[in-house]
Symmetry: C2
Subunit: 145 residues, 2 copies
Amino acid sequence: MRTLSIGAVARESGIAASAIRFYEKESLLPVPARLRGQRRYDEGVFARIEIIKLALEAGFTIAETRSFLSGFSKETPPAARWRALAARKLEEVSELMQHAQQMKALLENSFHCNCPSLADCESFLRARRAGAARRSAGSSKSRGP
Amino acid sequence: MRTLSIGAVARESGIAASAIRFYEKESLLPVPARLRGQRRYDEGVFARIEIIKLALEAGFTIAETRSFLSGFSKETPPAARWRALAARKLEEVSELMQHAQQMKALLENSFHCNCPSLADCESFLRARRAGAARRSAGSSKSRGP
DNA sequence: GTACGAGTTAAAGTGCACTTCAAGTCAAGC
DNA sequence: GCTTGACTTGAAGTGCACTTTAACTCGTAC
């Protein structure tokens, strides 16, 4: 059975060895077996790393990602806590997507619009209206990813 | 004509006064008029702040947001540079949205899935396949917002 | 046997987006 | 006149996600 060094995992997963060690220290990755003092990983580590990447890229913090991962493990003692986190994060991710969508529209429009000023820009006004609607509905102070 | 103090703008826009000063220092906001040494804003500042918020929430850095804003102003000398930035950012925002979408699916699915381990989880495997497809197509190292 | 490359550690450093602090000015209310 | 509250400044501090550094150990190749 093939086991991999940290360097091999770094190359194949595309994340730095220092980041892998950091994730291990932060308990995002399990402490792997050792061969003469060096970490040895099996293929399963890639699945874990993919989730970590996904979560971090979607704006989860390290602590949240840890919770998320523990919510997935065989033992889920504080199921309620995990569900609450998931629900909250689901909202945040949805918001993030809305913002990204608006920014995307703004960027796309800015190619074929020559508004003299921001205040006249159609796509910007649309985005602003959407933002205002969201704000009046109940909002958050969350900084994106 | 109503002019507003920094405190009023902070309250109405929902961003801290310290952040407004910071944005001014970073040239995201124009230097406003002064009344007895204190900043006086007109209503137009809210439009500007909305774009700044949108851009930052969509993962733009301060420097990129500055470029974005200058791309919108009456004078756009380095139009090519701006278009290049916009195109690049458009890609990044699209990627961000994909990641967010995957994470959303993962979160939603994790409510009614009781996978014994990550490796068995359908929604996770879907996400992983999507990720792998993207990776092989050409990728980035961008950290989200 | 020694140079090389890849790994190990704890601790310090980095970049970003702000916030907080310390020390001050100013106008209004008591 | 003195307090209160909102503002001013530059400088230092914060939290996060890593990276870099320094000093070290191994196994392999020459």
